[in-house]
Amino acid sequence: MPDEVNTEFKWVGKRNPRPDGVDKVTGRAKYGADLYLPGMLVGKTLRSPHAHARIKSIDTSKAKALAGVKAVVTSADFPAIPKPPGPHGPMISDFRDNSMNMMARDKVLYDGHPVAAVAATSEKIARQALKLIEVDYEVLPHVIDPVEAMKPDAPILHDDQVTEGEDEKTAKPSNVYRIPRAQKGDVEKGFAEADLVIEREFTTKAVHQGYIEPHACVAQASDDGVELFCSTQGQYVDRGSCAKLLGLDISKIRVTSSEIGGGFGGKIPIYSEPVAIRLAQLARRPVKMVMSRDEVFRATGPTSGAHVRIKIGAKKDGTITAAEGEMTYQAGAFKGASIGAAMNCMFSPYDLENIHVWGYDVCVNRPKVAAYRAPGVPMAAFGVEGVINELADELGIDRVDLRLINAAKEGTQNVMGMKYGPIGFQEMLEKMKAHPHYNAPLGENQGRGLAAGYWLHAGGMSCASVNVSDDGTVTLIEGNPDIGGSRASMAAMVAEELGIDYNKVRPIISDTSSLGFTFLTAGSRVTFATGMACVLAARNAIKVACDRAAQMWGVSEEEVVWEDGHARPAGANVGDHEPMSLAEIAAKAPMTGGPIAGHAEINATGQGPATGAHLVDVEVDRESGHVKVLRYTVFQDVGRAISPDYVEGQLQGGAVQGIGWALNEEYIYDDKGRLENPGFLDYRVPVASDVPMIDVCMIEVPNPNHPYGVRGVGETPIVPPQAAVANAVENAVGLRFRDLPVSPPKIRKAIKDAGG
């Protein structure tokens, strides 16, 4: 357990019980599939069994004729969206792609691609109806691997896609959507100055976010408008997407986010939601659509599998002189692999003069990738940290020392030109070296690995309202689905500002019609950006409360201050007025001008990046290649932990997802391009018996741009584990591993090939 760092606050930094805890431990909390409405129909999706095929025809007549079937839709029931003009920014938002991913138009592009959907009075009838839909496919050659997909004779997914920068009229269609690039300094010069240059290739497999709650939604529609209840990381973004894909006014759609059973980035995109709305419009009844687990694996966002080439040069003293990274990422069926974030983050724990990074965003016949926790970064960091560990060994420098020599600090500028404010990376590495874990003895066949990681973090738009009731209790309304305890942090910051009891603040997640736009629960932005909006809303409420006290005391606003939950005279010369609590002021609100509330609408900037480093011990069964994780310690600069319990939880959860990614998780396709392991039986996420306790060492270097120093914490912890675990296996068996997952057959084969 980490030390309690904050002592100067009453609620911030404390282990407050979460406001939604009782509902979640008693089964009362309503998740995406938990809503039942009168007359509700069951919606089901027909999906492509082929990796790549032209749809010659779809005949839904038999399905429509089946008793109990109330609506059937295909792409013909959705507006065709024209190709948007390029080039796209780093975040691609191409609604034509989204529309075609939601429901295939001319071609199916992956196993699981939706081609039609039905709404029926029962699950059984809906399933039967899907079997009655006749789709005539012309099966086309497919391509699964991005390196294969870049070859000149590869099957082309999109005939109208040329590589960005090429002339659309003359260039040949390509699976490569774009080749983003970033540079700093002069790498050629840097490599020339190096005493040692190591260049290695690494591969990682596509892995899934693996949230336990499948995608689920309930839609209702009439001419008045649309109601959508769904499990999402962003009800406002969902609303905008549904409006675009259905040709509706945004204001006609109200999206209510359910409790969300995990997302990790995978519940940012929309999938069934517009389909459910369309079915509800046609059937004039509510429609529920819940994905089965195999649909989740086959058709929702895994992250990219990747080929990564890393080249790093260093002097004998350990100074890195140049670093280069080339990434080839699977985008899936539509463009948009997270290469930009990878370029931004992969070398960013370090203060380097010369960097060159670029990557290929490659379409292949797999589901369109979605964000997965620090999207794009773990695959690149796996290569970078692997090479740094090898450099350390070759140079005879301790692995932490080599990182310390090159560590980023305040003032360091990364490859994107971002200049760091206060950053705790060096302090963290010192803590790692001093930690008992670092020098604990290891037994036979045991090894210790380490790696670092970085995430850039996001700000963005958020709204919040603080409404004070006449008994002085507070309803806090904000717009981010609470995926891991964020309500507790919001309530703590607002209670701290108002000076009232934490339990007197009731945080509520708004629907899209009850509060202004709030961006996604993603990018480790919520406690930073929405937290800032909550703090500002509280401060605005305090202004109103002070104003009311001033009125009652007959003094000016400036003569009232808010301290310790009370309006007080700002000085002795203001007069002798008894301090008034929020409750006392609120009780008099009807006589002083009406309800007391504060609101904030912001576009938050100034997010602080977070660095982390992980230390892990494993034991390898040399005869079978089985890896047991023995001990694990996460170090991270968390800015300030508003809710230490949930910050620890983020670090622990990210580490274990990374362990799964490192050891056993992978998408496996057969030679026809069909996913072979669309279930938790063979897509092997870590189970409770696979992992030890995950120790946490939080370093708090507050972000000066947030009222409570928040940095955001959720993504960084998934960046180091892949390289750290692989490094531990290397350390245990004395061989290098550069292909994830480091699964038993690979380890066993490597040991055998080495004569063991």
Partner: protein
């Protein structure tokens, strides 16, 4: 329609329902009885989100048919608290932050309660293996295991 009439006891209450043969106990709990505390994560017995007990035996409700429960006693998450008084496991899960998104929580709680009834003093390894069929993707299991161990100690009066 050939639905079967089934009489069970759910959380102590005699409960009757009609179901089709292929409807699982999970389908019945959720779709027929609207007891949505029991969650569906996979429908194939691989995630444990739908854990309930039948005659005191821990099972996945997605792997038992509704018709098979005739005459049996089912306990679900909805029956775990005694009115407003939370079970010590529920209280400790909140106090020790053993949940993040909370979707696996009902299943984990039902499974952990069943463990502590059979083994009041489990080792960490025993807890981990007992709960190996309850996937959690958020917590990395650390705080879950700690909360179960702490509750066991508390309930032993340690």
């Amino acid at each position: 329609m050939a639905k079967t009439h089934v009489t069970t006891t759910i959380n102590g209450d005699e409960t009757e329902f009609l179901c089709e043969t292929e409807q699982t106990l999970l389908d019945v709990l959720r779709d027929e009885l609207h007891m949505t505390g029991t969650k569906e994560g996979c429908g194939t017995g691989d995630c444990g989100a739908c854990s309930v007990t039948m005659d005191g035996r821990l099972i996945c409700s997605c792997l038992v048919l509704g018709v098979e429960t005739h005459g049996h006693k089912i306990e679900t998450i909805e029956g775990m608290a005694d009115g407003d008084a939370l079970h010590p496991l529920q209280r400790n899960f909140i106090d020790m932050a053993a949940l993040q998104c909370g979707i696996c929580t009902p299943g984990v709680l039902v499974a952990a309660k069943n463990l502590l009834e059979k083994n009041p003093d489990p080792s960490e390894t025993e807890v981990r293996f007992w709960l190996a069929g309850n996937l959690c993707r958020c917590t990395g299991y650390d705080k879950i295991i700690r909360a179960v161990m702490e509750t066991a100690a508390e309930m032993r009066g340690a």
